[in-house]
């Protein structure tokens, strides 16, 4: 876990909108959800007779939600568009409809073939989001990494054509989390994003894990950089513990407290050529094998044999990446992220993905493909809660055209930062090494419901600085339609099916009825209000 963080100190330019947005969208504190063991145990409390809701499928069997209109894109297309992107746009929905879901997924997995000019153009405003630690240090004002890197990530989520890649990058950041607020890790975070996470997100997990172990960000974040075992010194256990507990086999993965101590010796001397600006270095003068001095010492089925020094630690990392318990736990975590937390550790979809992972030497793309083309995935529509960042990106992608107005970049940057801060939706700001929780209940409470409803109001009003409302892409006010027709069109745009009673109440709240003709300019002010109300509804809150 990190050294002290001082959040909020940077919050200079709060906009009126952001200031009143709540910051309670934050998920609950770290908990048992980090591991494969996270499947809830049975409650000991006697069941009550109160009816419980059934599995949520929009308009599905048993559902009392409004039926999905037949004229809209098919539910399976809409499901893929919601779950595998940061929010459906009309263009994505028509792309998936045209080629079919599997072909679209395969195209997204082959991400290097997708041209993505918008990302470079948009993120070029965030100078401190790229560069080596040395380059960041030379540039100065290193604290700007805390702002620029998360904004670059959030903006990429909005504008990128490589949506599934961006989703997967988010998964790996959570899995191998580093808090960008950590002073020592800060300079190294841009290269962690580019050279560790993004370079390996669709590669091999064993390479990803090795790259993270040798990254300045992780070495500083988990205190490995200063750990030494020479003389009578006691090595720091932090990285050794989280490597096994969080990054690979999980807390019940088959190691003991004594094993944590032993592994901390294995990595003693793993450090940086310079804490603030350097790259990985192995300092044999700080290294001692400790319990591994005996070549018979075994942890999780690994012993060092004749290996010593840095090679021993590297061998252990590769062993952990390929370990069968790691395979199953990673497969399960990916299923929870892309299907839902109802998937159990031993479900068929997890076992299938685990086998693909093992058969392909920890390759991520085939593992992911096995999950995303499964029946379990296809049947999981709306079974996840949208995180606050996803609510924001989905709202922007649904209602804005050129989603980033670079002419006001500096001003926009601070406004965007303030909104993400207020929502606790800032990428790379989770303080503990377990990453943002993948547990639906962690994202919902009274405070976060209020924040979610307020965000919908802001999005409806088109009041997110730098993001231009695309009125032309919404139904036309002057075409002789009724207000009711307009509302149906807006509902289709954001994917919220309406039933007549709710539609009537929404229209009543703005003093209109279904048949009110769109004739006067005075009708136009009701559009933002109705759009906001649509995005407050449960179907927009789930994915």
């Amino acid at each position: 876990m990190p050294t002290p963080t001082r959040r909020g100190a940077l919050l200079g330019g709060l906009t009126a909108g952001a200031a009143v947005l709540a910051s309670a969208c934050a998920p609950t504190a770290p908990d048992s959800s980090v591991g494969i063991e996270a499947r809830p145990a049975r409650l000991r409390t006697p069941p009550t007779t109160v009816p419980v809701t059934v599995a949520p499928t929009t308009g599905g069997p048993g559902s009392l939600l409004p039926a999905w209109p037949a004229a809209w894109a098919s539910p399976s297309v809409w499901h893929v568009a919601k779950r595998l992107t940061f929010g459906p746009t009309p263009r994505v929905v028509s792309q998936i409809t045209a080629v079919g879901t599997t072909a679209w997924i395969d195209g997204q997995l082959n991400y290097m073939s997708i041209s993505d000019p918008a990302v470079g153009a948009a993120t070029s405003f965030y100078e401190w989001s790229r560069g080596s630690a040395q380059e960041i240090a030379t540039k100065g004002q290193e604290w700007r990494v805390v702002v620029d890197l998360p904004l670059s990530t959030a903006l990429s989520a909005v504008v990128s054509e490589r949506q599934l890649f961006e989703r997967t990058v988010g998964f790996w950041w959570d899995h191998l989390n580093v808090d960008v607020n950590n002073r020592a890790a800060q300079n190294h975070c841009p290269s962690y994003d580019a050279d560790v996470i993004r370079s390996n997100a669709f590669g091999k997990f064993s390479d990803l894990l090795m790259a993270s172990a040798k990254s300045g960000a992780m070495l500083n974040y988990l205190d490995q950089e200063s750990s030494r075992a020479d003389g009578q010194r006691v090595p720091n256990e932090n990285y050794a513990r989280e490597l096994m507990e969080l990054h690979t086999v999980g807390v019940n993965g088959g190691y003991s407290e004594a094993d944590v101590v032993a592994v901390s010796y294995l990595f003693s001397g793993w450090t940086l050529s310079n804490k603030w600006t350097g790259t990985f270095a192995f300092d044999s003068g700080r290294h001692a094998l400790g319990p591994f001095t005996s070549s018979a010492t075994t942890v999780l089925g690994w012993s060092r044999g004749s290996l010593t020094g840095v090679a021993a630690g590297e061998s252990f990392i590769r062993h952990l990446a390929r370990h069968s318990v790691t395979a199953q736990r990673l497969a399960h975590k990916l299923c929870v992220r892309f299907i839902g937390e109802h998937v159990g550790l031993n479900d068929a979809v997890v076992r299938a993905a685990r086998d693909v992972y093992v058969a392909n030497d920890t390759q991520i793309v085939p593992t992911l493909r096995s999950i995303l083309t499964s029946a379990e995935f296809a049947n999981s529509a709306d079974k996840k809660i949208r995180r606050p960042l996803e609510l924001l990106t989905a709202g922007l992608r649904a209602t804005c055209d050129a989603p980033f107005n670079s002419s006001t970049a500096e001003n926009t940057k601070w406004n965007f930062y303030a909104i993400l801060t207020a929502l606790s939706a800032m990428p790379h700001h989770w303080p503990t090494p377990d990453g943002y929780p993948d547990k639906d209940a962690a994202w919902v409470s009274v405070g976060s419901m209020i924040s979610r409803w307020n965000l919908a109001t802001l999005l409806g009003a088109g009041n997110i600085p730098g993001f231009n409302r695309d009125w032309s892409m919404l139904p036309n006010w002057t075409s002789g339609l009724t207000v009711g027709d307009w509302l149906e069109g807006a509902a289709q745009r954001v994917g919220v099916a309406l039933d007549p009673a709710v539609k009537a109440r929404m229209l009543s709240s703005v003093g209109r009825v279904d048949s009110t003709p769109i004739t006067a300019a005075g009708n136009r002010w009701v559009a933002p209000k109705l759009l906001g109300q649509l995005m407050q509804q449960p179907q927009f809150q789930t994915v």
Binding site: M1, P2, T3, G8, A19, A22, A24, A26, T28, A29, D31, S32, A38, R39, P40, L43, T45, P47, T48, P51, V52, T53, V54, S63, L64, L65, S226, S227, R233, V234, N236, E237, N238, E245, L246, V251, E257, H342, D382, I385, S424, T432, D440, A442, V444, S445, V446, G447, S451, W453, L458, A461, V502, R505, S509, K529, G532, Q536, Q541, T542
Partner: protein, 437 residues
Amino acid sequence: MNESSMNESSMIQTQLTRRRFLRNSGLAVAATGSASLLHTHAASAQDGTPGVSAVSAGTGNTLLVITCRGGMDGLSLLAPVSFPEYYALRPSIAVPQQAALGLGGARSDSRFAFHPAATRLCGMYNQGSVAVVNSAGVSNGSRSHFDAQSFLEGGIVDSNVSPTGWAGRWMSSTLAASDHPLRCLAIGSGLPASLRGSSAVAASGFDSLSLLPWGPSVETVAASTADLYNRIGVHSALTPWAAPTLGTIAEVSSLGTPERPESFPNTEISKNLWPIARLLQAGFPIEVAHAEMHDWDTHDAMGAATNTSARMYSQVSELDTAIGAFFDYLGSAGARVTVVVVSEFGRRAYENSSGGCDHGRAFPMMVIGGGVRGGVYGDFQGLSDAALDQGDVRVTTDYRTVLSELLSQRLGASSSVLNATFPRFSPTSSWLGLVSV
């Protein structure tokens, strides 16, 4: 959905059926366009729900839990200055005897002394309103943050997958006492695991307790949106929240937009304690409150105890200042509020090569304020190799013993409520005597 999460969901639903003023009158009336019944006082008058100025049907007392996340180094906060091993184990970070704040007053104790930054806590100790239970902790020996926090907040130490928290179970087992929406309140980053399984309010501050003033009114949200949340087919994690959310908005709106006073500085813990202090001062019947503070995971660079810019010093100082400001603000109303400070574990007795301490076991559990009988409690067995548990201070008092006593003595929890709150746990035969009723 699996069976356990359905049960969790139905438990919350059960609680919500009690919110008749929202579900049957508030929402229905709002839907027909009349807003008045969403107002606190009207709701109170209608079915006897305690309103802003009312005292809850319970004891009227509040238990405020402060969770120090990351593993608080108790050997810095309350230094065992009379134990020579302490200085041998911690050559660069021990609290020097001459700088430590001695425990005076009626329960003076020369074995231990407060960190130099804990001036307010020491002052309150000397006045008899701080009890420290040494060597307290989670009796399961996990040194994993995530396991230990799960045990601590789950209130169950034989499983790290409890879907409900101890405070959540306390709340659901005492529903008859009060169904006020602000009965259980957590300020911080979301709903803490200790309050899972309840409809406790979790917010980051006053901003997340109000709708945008220029957006749809609470009546409009109730009519056009919130109703949908109760429908079959909606995600089970969303369903329970619309009604308590509307109730909370209505209640808190009576306070306007409170501004944090300067006495609560711009730190995480002060910002989290301020809304609780304001709402308590306004008379809201909060029974269990929770505030959190991060960054206690001091694996490195804790710094000398006398270095006012060092990491450990500022951690202790921020906590100390916030607790002082909290009781200052409440004044005489503070007599009804008992604070308990917990962490998932303490830290190792000896320092590591990075100038910090790795994960340990026991920590000194502090009980502060209303009803407290000050003094040092608990069985601290010393810092010799034999006394330590794999290098850590041994846990000799299960933290649930302390929480049970506070729930019983301050909130009037019966033995059946305690059994529901901490299943498969029996407190020591008699209370430690930390608090009076």
